[in-house]
C-alpha cells in the first residue's frame, strides 16, 4: 500500500532530432496522498499525460524525483522500478488495448504476473468488467467496441489488479453521463480504499469528485482551489 506519491523539483525536457530542446514543465512539486482523488488540469500539450507517465515510472524526468513514501522510485534501477510498477494501474488516453483480443483477455493481462490460477485470473477480470458495467462485452474483440466501451475496458484493466496507485488520463472523454457516473464511482471506491488516485483531464464533469486540484500554467504545476476558483 502506498502512503502517497510526491514530486520533487520535477522537470521534463524533450529533445527533437535536430537537437532542439523544449521544456514541457519545470519545478513541479506536488503531493498525491493516498485516500484522495487529485485532478490535474491544463491546456493541451501542457504536460498532463507526461506527468502521469513519470508518476507511473514509464518515463524518466530530466530533473528531480518521484517519491513513493520515502523512496525515490523514479531513480530506482529499471528491474526494481518494473517490480514497483506492478502496484500502479494506468488508464491511457488512447487506451492501448490489444485490438484483436477480447475485452476479458485484455483485462487479464496485468494479472498474469501474479501467477494466480487461470480461473482466479479470469474471475477477477470479469469482476472488474462487471464493475464497469461491461461484463456483457467480455467475449468481444476490442476492435468491435465503441470508443466509450473501449475506455471502460481500459479502466477495468487498470483496476483489475487492485493497484495501490491509480493514474488515469482523460478517463471520461468518451463517456456519456451514465458511463461517466460508472467510471467516477469506481474511482471513488478506489479512494475510499485508501488508494492514490490521480486523474488528468479536461472534462469539467470530473471536478466535482476530486479532493485536490492542480493546474498546469506555462510549464508550471500550480495548486488550484478547484471548481470554486472557476466560479
Amino acid at each position: 500500500m502506498s502512503g502517497g506519491i510526491f514530486c520533487r523539483d520535477l522537470e521534463l525536457v524533450r529533445r527533437g532530432s535536430s537537437g532542439q530542446e523544449r521544456t514541457i514543465f519545470t519545478d513541479v512539486n506536488a503531493d498525491f496522498p493516498a485516500g484522495n482523488i487529485t485532478l490535474i488540469t491544463g491546456p493541451a500539450g501542457s504536460g498532463k499525460s507526461s506527468l502521469l507517465y513519470i508518476l507511473a515510472g514509464l518515463i524518466r524526468p530530466t530533473r528531480g524525483e518521484v517519491l513513493d513514501g520515502e523512496e525515490a522510485v523514479s531513480r530506482w534501477l529499471t528491474p526494481h522500478r518494473d517490480l514497483w510498477r506492478k502496484g500502479v494501474g494506468i488508464v491511457f488516453q488512447h487506451f492501448q488495448l490489444f485490438a484483436e483480443l477480447t475485452a476479458e483477455k485484455n483485462v487479464m493481462i496485468p494479472l498474469l504476473p501474479k501467477k494466480w490460477p487461470y480461473r482466479r485470473i479470469r474471475n477477477r477480470a470479469n469482476e472488474a468488467l462487471e464493475r464497469l458495467s461491461a461484463g456483457h462485452l467480455s467475449q468481444m474483440p476490442v476492435h468491435f467496441l465503441s470508443g466509450g466501451e473501449r475506455q471502460r475496458v481500459a479502466v477495468a484493466r487498470a483496476l483489475a489488479a487492485d493497484p495501490a496507485i491509480l493514474l488515469a488520463d482523460e478517463p471520461t472523454a468518451h463517456q456519456d453521463p451514465e458511463g461517466m457516473k460508472i467510471v467516477m464511482d469506481v474511482f471513488a471506491e478506489a479512494r475510499d480504499r485508501a488508494r492514490v488516485v490521480v486523474i488528468a483531464a479536461h472534462d469539467p464533469r470530473i471536478a466535482g469528485i476530486a479532493d485536490r486540484y492542480y493546474r498546469f500554467i506555462d510549464g508550471r504545476l500550480l495548486h488550484d482551489r478547484g471548481p470554486e476558483s472557476q466560479g
Binding site: 520533487r8 524518466r60 530530466t62 530533473r63 524525483e65 525515490a72 531513480r75 530506482w76 534501477l77
Partner: protein, 342 residues
Amino acid sequence: MIAHPILMAIGMADLFGLGLILSAGWIAGDILLHWNSDGRDRRQIALEARSERGGAEARWGAGLFAFSTLLLVIAVTRILPELIPGAMCGTGVFQAMQGAGFRAFALRFITLLLLFLWHLLDRLNRTSRRGPLTETSARGLLIALPGAVLGIFDTFKAVSLLDLERPVDCCAALYDRFGNGNSLPFWENIPDAFWMGGFMVTGILLIAAGVWSFLRPGRKSAALLAIFSLIWPFAAAGALVQVLSAYHYQVLSHSCPWCLFLPEHWRVGFFLFGALLGGMAAGPAALLSIIVGQRYPAIREPARIMSRRASAWAVLLSILFIIGASFPALLWRLRHGVWIGG
C-alpha cells in the same frame, strides 16, 4: 592475412564487442567524474539512465569478447592447424604466429577474468534499488578496458603474421627443447613428483578453503580460497601438461597442452582448461563479493549468497578437473599395474 570465415567471425565479434565496451567505458569515465548519488540535477538524472545503458553495453561487449575468445581457441586448435603447413595442433599455429599469439591469448584471458569480476560487481549492483556499486563497477570496467583493447589488437597482429606459405615444425617446437639441456625452460627441469605433489597439495587446500568459505562465508576463508584458486591452476596445468598428458596421449612423454583439444583425444582440453579457468575466476569472485558486501550493507545478503555460490563453483570445478585430468592415469595403472614411466 588468412580470410577464413572463422577469423572474420572473430574479427566481427571483436569489433562489435570492443565498440560496446569502449562506449560503456566512456560512460564509466563520466560516472567517475560526475556521479553524485545525493543530487537530483539534470546531469545526475541523465547519468543514472546512462549508467544503466552503459551496463547493458558492457555486458553485451563482454559476452561478444568471451564468444570471440572461444572462437579463437577453436580456430587455433581445430581450424588453423589444417591450413598451416606442418602444424598439427595449436603449438604449430603459435609457432606460425611468431610469438604474438601467446601475448594475445594471455591478454585475452586476463581481460576475461577482469570482465568476469566486473560482471559480478554489476550483478551485485543491480540487486539494490539505487545501485550503490555504480562507481565501483565503473572503476572495474575501466581497469578491464585496456586489456580488451590490447588483447584484440594483439589478436589482429597475431593473425596477420600467419603465413600459409611458410611451413612450421609443430612437434619440433616441443622436442627440440630436449636437444640441449641448457636451453630448457625451468619448468622442464622440475621433477614429475614435484608437479604431482604440488598439484595434489594445492588442490586439497583449495577444496578445503572452498568448503570453509561455502560453510562460513567471511573475509579470511574467501581470501584463502582466492589465493589457492590463483596458485592451483599453475600447479594443475603443470601437472597436466608435464605428467598426466602422457596418459591422455598414451605415449611416454608429450608435454603439449594443445593436443588435448584434438578430436582424437576427445577434445578434453576444452573441458579441462575450461574447468581450470572457471575455478581460477571463482575464488577471487568469492572474495570480491564478501568485500563489497561488508562495505555496502544494502547488498550484504546477495553478496553473501554470491560468495557462497562462487565457493561452491570453485570446489566443483577443481574436483571435475582432478577427475578429468587423472582418470586416464588411474585407468592405465589399473590396466597395467605400473605408472607410464615405470
